[in-house]
């Protein structure tokens, strides 16, 4: 009789993919449930709209199911998923014509004048909740002002915790580009949150 302390070892992504390819719908469901929140955080961070983000999450997994045989296993399954989700986010933004407003004002490697910032609370402000709310609002605005490529690199690194190598696979760009985009995006965010962080 199995002990209560024993737990079933979770199947690896690759094992679930193999079973899903053979028609095991439960295996694919497990993959969806394993990664849906992470894909949602990328989509929500990219699109800043809950409805659009949910659409992208559903479409990401539908596409993944359709093209499961194209997943070679030479990178992580989640890397492959993020690539699908990122491309769908870009498509979504193109459809809505948002990309034109999100071009970087300067070259990402060049220096840039810090944008005007709203005065933050004094350093000794005891109301941390107010402070957190303000950080959240400023971040929201600052993230909106980043280009999709810069926003993606921030989300994949800070939220998803991907390595530079993995991010370069998701965004299909060299590792050096990932590093320069990350540096630029962080400086942009820092300049918006100067008094708060």
């Amino acid at each position: 009789m199995p002990s209560e302390g024993l737990r079933a070892v979770p199947s690896s992504d690759w094992e679930l993919v193999r079973r899903a390819r053979e028609g095991d719908r439960d295996a694919f469901r497990e993959l969806v449930e394993r990664y849906q929140r992470r894909v949602a955080s990328l989509a929500l961070g990219m699109l800043r709209s809950r409805e659009d983000a949910l659409d992208v999450v559903q479409e990401t997994f539908a596409k993944a199911y359709q093209h499961l045989d194209r997943f070679k296993g030479d990178s992580g399954f989640y890397t492959w998923l993020y690539r699908i989700a990122f491309n769908l986010c870009i498509d979504q933004q193109r459809r809505e014509g948002k990309l034109a407003d999100l071009r970087p004002p300067h070259d990402e490697t060049g220096s840039m004048e810090p944008p005007p910032t709203v005065d933050g609370p004094p350093p000794d402000e005891p109301f941390q909740r107010v402070r957190s709310a303000e950080i959240g609002q400023r971040l929201e605005q600052a993230m909106r002002e980043l280009t999709p490529d810069h926003r993606a690199v921030i989300l994949l690194r800070e939220v998803q915790g991907l390595s530079y190598e993995e991010i370069s696979r998701v965004l299909e760009c060299p590792k050096g580009t990932v590093m320069s985009r990350l540096h630029y995006a962080r400086r942009q965010l820092q300049s918006r949150l100067r008094e708060l962080l």
């Binding site: 719908r25 694919f28 469901r29 969806v32 449930e33 849906q36 929140r37 949602a40 955080s41 929500l44 961070g45 809950r50 983000a53 949910l54 999450v57 559903q58 997994f61 539908a62 199911y65 359709q66 950080i135 959240g136 971040l139 929201e140 993230m143 921030i154 989300l155 690194r157 800070e158 939220v159 390595s163 530079y164 590093m179 990350l182 540096h183 962080r186 965010l189 820092q190 949150l193 962080l197």
Partner: protein
């Protein structure tokens, strides 16, 4: 390691993407340099703030509708695949069916009793060994086919017939 080096490496340091010796060198410098230490801390605070803000938003999302929608999409994909497979298999199945039908027609023509309504035109072709075969007809014969060579061996019971004549 100088302050300029740390400034250049700060992102990779905060992301733990540097080789271990370089990580250690940056950490040692930052420990003794308040400016670089502050720079690294601000970077780490930004990382935490972004992660917390996005995760809080995502946690509030109701994802209960995702799987039903994905399952419905998967059903549509499977249905399309099924039709596609049938469409691909159709030419071969059609050819097979035609072959069977043709064979059936030929067979029926071969076994059905000839009901002739008029004078039949019989086309006969005499094989080179037809006379010999005619002589064997009605004798005690046994056939055996060698599976490897494909050779057919015919045994004839000499006592039962008049082959020698």
């Amino acid at each position: 390691m100088t302050c300029a080096d740390v400034e250049r490496l700060a992102d990779a340091f905060a992301d733990a993407e540097l080789p271990a010796p370089t990580m250690l060198a940056v950490a040692r410098h930052a420990a003794g340099c308040s400016t670089c230490d502050e720079s690294v801390r601000r970077l780490q605070a930004l990382q935490e703030s972004v992660a917390q803000a996005v995760r809080a938003e995502t946690d509030a999302l109701d994802l209960s509708g995702v799987w039903p929608a994905v399952a419905a999409a998967a059903d549509r994909v499977d249905a399309r695949r099924s039709w596609s497979r049938r469409a691909r298999a159709l030419p071969a199945a059609l050819a097979g069916a035609l072959a069977v039908a043709a064979a059936a027609v030929f067979w029926m023509q071969g076994v059905r009793p000839a009901v002739e309504s008029g004078p039949a035109v019989v086309v006969s072709r005499t094989l080179p060994n037809q006379a010999y075969i005619d002589r064997l007809a009605g004798k005690d014969l046994r056939l055996r086919r060698e599976p490897r060579s494909g050779t057919t061996i015919i045994w004839v019971n000499a006592t039962a017939g008049d082959l020698g004549r």
